[in-house]
Subunit: 240 residues, 2 copies
C-alpha cells in the first residue's frame, strides 16, 4: 500500500472538460492508468486536465475499460510564462527521453530544428510514441499544461518568425546560467544545437537575431542534456 | 566529415598518467573510441584524464586495438566545488540515464540511498553497465573529474556521517531553486527521494540534520528528473 502521505489526487487527461455536475468518460489509456496502475476506486476524486490550463475534479462512479465520473469542480488556470525549446536532433533514440523530461519539467513548446549538421530523421516514425511519453509525463507531473510537440522545421524557416521575449542560445561561451535567472513571466526561447552543434553560420544567424549565449554547465553537454538543463533552469525560476 | 569547428581535442581516460615525454598505451575501450568512433589519426593530439583532475596531452603514435602515444604535457587541476547527489531509487531502468546524465553534468558523487519506500535492487547487476555509461559521459563532457558512483547505503547509515557544506532536500515545498544559487565553492549535498518519496520520518530526519527544502520545478518530478534538475542547478552556478 502506498502510504497516505503520498496519496495526492491522481491526475489524468481528457480532450474536453465538461462543466460541474456533468458526466465524463475517460479515454482508454487514462482509464487503464486509473484502473490498473494506481488502482483508483469508485467514490475517489481525481484531477482531470485538458493540458491547456483546464482542471476538473472528477468523482469516480465507474472503474474499468472506461472510467467514468461526475465533475464536481472546474477551473481554468492562466499561464503567465512559457518556455519554447528549439532543439537540434540528438543522437539515436535520445529524443525519447528528451521529450519525456521536457514534458515533466513543464516545457511549453518543443520545436525540433533541422539544421546543417543534423536532421530529426526519426520524428515521423516516433510521433505516436512521443505523444504517449508526453501524456504519461503530464499525468506524472500533475500539471495542467501539456507539452506542445511540433513537427521538425528547417532552421531558417523557424528563425524567420522569432517571437518576442528573451532569446537564449545554449553555448559554453556564454555567461553561467546561474547568474542569469530565467524570466519570471512571458515567453522565453532557448535554442540548443544538434549532436554535432550548430554551424558557424547558424550561430551567427542566431546572434544576429538577438540570441544571447547561455552556459548551462562548465562541461560539454550532449544535445538532450543541454535541453534538459535549459528546461531545469527555466523551471527553477521563482514565479512572478 | 565532421567540420573543423567541432574538432576540439578528443578526451579519453587512463587510470594513470605518465609524465611529459613518456609513452602511454590506452585501454581497450578508450582505444576503440579513438580508432573506431572518432577515427583519430597518428600525429593527432588527444586529451587524457585520470578522472581525478589530471589532464595530459597525448600525441598519438599508433592507432589500433591499443592506441599509443607520447605525453607532451601534464597538469593537475584543483577542484574548488563538488556536488554529492544522495538519491533514492528511481523506477525500473531509469537509473541508467540518471547515472549518464549525472556524469555528464559533472556531479562529483552519486550516493544511492536505500530508503523506507525504495531500494536500489538493480545496483549490483548494473554495476558494470553504469561504470561504462559514466566513462562514456566523461569522454563526452571532456571534463577531468569522473563521477564517483558509490554502492547503495541505508538512509540512516548515510545520514550518520553528514559532511559540512550546504545540505538541500529536493522538495516542492521549498523555495524555488532559481532564487537560491548553488554554492560557488566547497561541498554541496542534495538529497532526492525514491520514486515513492521519502517517508515523513525520513523527511523529518533530514530537516533535523540541517537539510533545507529546495523546489526544482513547480510540477512533480520523477526521482531521476529531480536528480538531474538538481545537478543542472549546481552545474549552472557561476564559478568562484
Amino acid at each position: 500500500m502506498r502510504p497516505r502521505a503520498e496519496a495526492a489526487p491522481r491526475s489524468v487527461f481528457a480532450e474536453v472538460l465538461p462543466g460541474p455536475g456533468e458526466r465524463l468518460g475517460l479515454a482508454e489509456d487514462e482509464s487503464h492508468y486509473l484502473a490498473r496502475v494506481v488502482r483508483a476506486r469508485v467514490g475517489e476524486s481525481v484531477t482531470v486536465t485538458d493540458g491547456r490550463g483546464g482542471r476538473a475534479e472528477l468523482e469516480l462512479s465507474a472503474i474499468g475499460r472506461v472510467c467514468e465520473g461526475r465533475v464536481t469542480r472546474l477551473e481554468h488556470l492562466a499561464r503567465t510564462r512559457t518556455l519554447t525549446l528549439a532543439c537540434g536532433a540528438p543522437e539515436g533514440d535520445r529524443g525519447d527521453w528528451l521529450i519525456e523530461k521536457a514534458a515533466e519539467l513543464g516545457v511549453s513548446v518543443l520545436q525540433p530544428l533541422d539544421t546543417e549538421r543534423g536532421r530529426w530523421e526519426r520524428a515521423a516514425a516516433r510521433e505516436a510514441r512521443w505523444a504517449r511519453l508526453a501524456r504519461a509525463a503530464l499525468r506524472q507531473s500533475r500539471a495542467c499544461w501539456a507539452l506542445e510537440l511540433r513537427t521538425p522545421e528547417p532552421f531558417a524557416v523557424w528563425l524567420g518568425r522569432m517571437p518576442a521575449g528573451p532569446l537564449w542560445l545554449a553555448d559554453p561561451a556564454g555567461a553561467p546560467a546561474g547568474a542569469a535567472p530565467a524570466a519570471a513571466q512571458g515567453q522565453t526561447t532557448v535554442a540548443v544545437g544538434p549532436a554535432s552543434g550548430f554551424s558557424d553560420a547558424e550561430r551567427k544567424a542566431l546572434q544576429d537575431n538577438g540570441f544571447q549565449f547561455l552556459s548551462l554547465a562548465p562541461s560539454r553537454l550532449r544535445t538532450e542534456t543541454a535541453a534538459l538543463a535549459a528546461a531545469a533552469w527555466w523551471a527553477a525560476a521563482p514565479g512572478e
